[in-house]
């Protein structure tokens, strides 16, 4: 692999399980077996109903842009070559929100409620990040 030099998630615990699915090309979130609530980021139990029972369920992969910031000046040295880029909050159809990037859309073209769909960005052999692109109709 080429030397990918940006921060990577630690692949342990529930966070690691989330990324393991991404590596397999699946976006999954926890869904409570008790009350049916979806949740992200991963938590041990359901804050809505208190149930410890949950499972990783497949997301539709589709969502809408909720908000974003365009980073014009990198505040982390590893992103110095990447500016300008947008860090985007996507609200999934399931209701959970995910911080990511939208590929193939110039930051100046982003708009609230822009429909997007997940794509999987294999940045290293071990890590695949969920990113988004403009939704196909």
């Amino acid at each position: 692999m080429s030397a990918y030099n940006k921060p990577l998630p630690e692949l342990s615990g529930l966070h690691g399980e989330f990324y393991e699915f991404c590596r397999a090309g699946e976006l999954r979130f926890q869904k409570c077996d008790g009350c049916g609530s979806w949740r992200h980021v991963p938590r041990e139990l359901c804050a809505e109903c208190g149930s410890w029972d949950w499972s990783w369920q497949a997301s539709s992969g589709r969502g809408k842009v909720f908000s974003w910031t365009v980073v014009d000046r990198a505040l982390h040295p590893d992103f110095a070559e990447s500016v300008p880029y947008a860090a985007v909050i996507v609200e999934m159809d399931e209701g959970v929100r995910l911080l990511s990037q939208v590929l193939g859309v110039e930051p100046s073209q982003l708009e609230i409620d822009l429909e997007v769909e997940v794509v999987f960005d294999s940045v290293t052999d071990e890590v695949t990040l969920p990113r988004f692109r403009r939704a196909s109709v």
Binding site: K6, P7, L8, P9, E10, H15, Y19, R39, H40, V41, A47, F66, S67, W68, T69, V70, V71, D72, R73, A74, L75, H76, P77, F79, S82, Y85, A87, I89, V96, R97, L98, L99, S100, Q101, P107, I112, V123, V127, L129, R131
Partner: protein, 386 residues
């Protein structure tokens, strides 16, 4: 009914950027602490409580350097920039309960010449409550630093309420105008116009460079004791009518809040006003933690100085300027005086209530508010009176 607690001493170092303070982070804070202790008219040995700012020092090293040989109360409120105003409440409770007689609250850093504020999260994700979440879900996408975290809230507010860049700029200009009356301010002698603001480069759109707080070297400190002891001390005591703190939900993750604008202050402010027995309409001035322009606007709304969504109009109409109905950050704040982690806001509030502010004095000031903002939106508020 408790007799209450008071701030009886304030101290500051000089504030600077280049060439830097020339002191260590601890040395800076000790200098401010000694000024505050002297202002209180006590000796360092009488200080028996210390509440260091999170991650910026330990009570033991403060005590060992100052000669506080009877340290009985040491604690830290882990709320980032919300810690100082929150600590006033804890210090008041400590002295009223007899856990300590004199509690020292120091804060300070070499925010310019040392580890820059902007790098804190990259260097040490463990220093904030949501550290592992930021590391695993934010940083891989380049969402790495406070202006970026909060810019998404600002953009959403602009979308939902029509808040404009000019309104954020009005805040930056008001803070800069206030700094022109404060010779201690780093931006004293460097006025800013709305045109200058709008022409400044974007940093984390919608935040321009001038939406962001300064990075400076400096420290400030206050001393808290009981109202009873305060009567025997030289300075006019400033009463801590109430202090409260709170957290957004969830506090460790920004993106999944049902209400993206709710901060800890949303919960803390009504509680503090209730306990103090005053309302926002009674407040003569406010020192609002202005890490970024929008956070100042948001806190005006969440404290209840105006309804949510009306903060933009509120600041644009000049109400936060000296001479307005609610002068805000008469020292220039984090945006134009110095970034002293919120302790500078408390010091300025005390100066206003002692009526020592010269040509930036709020006339007939009787009661004021100080807020704090930290981490992913933790909030605190202290209501102070002369």
């Amino acid at each position: 009914m408790s007799a209450g607690a008071c701030i009886v001493g304030i101290g500051e170092t000089a504030y600077c950027r280049k060439p830097g303070s020339g002191l260590s982070q601890l040395g800076l804070q000790l200098q401010a602490a000694l000024h505050a202790i002297a202002d209180a008219g006590i000796t360092p040995a009488e200080v028996d409580g210390i509440m260091p700012f999170p991650n910026l020092g330990r009570a033991e090293e403060f005590a060992a350097n100052l000669g506080c040989s009877n340290l009985r109360y040491a604690s830290t409120i882990h709320m980032g920039g919300a810690a100082p105003a929150a600590s006033l409440g804890a210090a008041a409770a400590a002295v009223e309960a007899g856990l300590a007689h004199y509690v020292l609250l120091p804060a300070g850093w070499n925010g310019y010449s040392g580890s820059r504020a902007r790098q804190t999260i990259a260097d040490d994700v463990a220093s904030i409550p949501g550290g592992a979440i930021a590391r695993d879900f934010y940083m891989p996408h380049g969402f790495t630093a406070p202006p970026q975290w909060y810019a998404v809230m600002a953009r959403r507010h602009m979308h939902e309420y029509g808040t404009t860049a000019e309104q954020l700029g009005a805040i930056a200009v008001a803070m800069r105008n206030h700094a022109q009356r404060n010779p201690r301010a780093v931006m004293h002698g460097r006025p800013l116009s709305l045109e200058d603001y709008l022409a400044s480069p974007m940093l984390a759109d919608p935040y321009r460079v001038f939406d962001c707080c300064l990075e400076t070297d400096g420290a400030a400190a206050v001393v808290v004791t009981t109202a009873e002891r305060a009567q025997d001390l030289p300075a006019d005591p400033v009463k801590i009518l109430a202090s409260a703190c709170g957290q957004p939900y969830p506090a460790d993750e920004i993106t999944n809040r049902k209400d993206i604008f709710q901060t800890g202050l949303t919960i803390a402010a009504p509680e503090a006003f209730g306990r103090a027995g005053v309302t926002p309409a009674d407040i003569d001035f406010a020192m609002i933690y202005d890490c970024f322009t929008f956070e100042l606007l948001q806190q005006l709304e969440e404290v209840g100085f105006c309804p949510r969504g009306e903060g933009g109009a509120f600041v644009e109409e000049g109400r936060i300027d000296l001479g307005g109905s609610l002068p805000v950050n008469t020292h220039g704040g984090l945006l134009s005086e110095a970034h002293v982690l919120g302790m500078g806001h408390i010091v300025e509030a005390v100066k206003q209530l002692r009526r020592q502010c010269g040509d930036r004095q709020v006339k007939d000031s009787e009661v004021g508010v100080v807020t704090g903002w930290g981490d992913f939106g933790d909030g605190s508020i202290a209501i102070l009176a002369r």
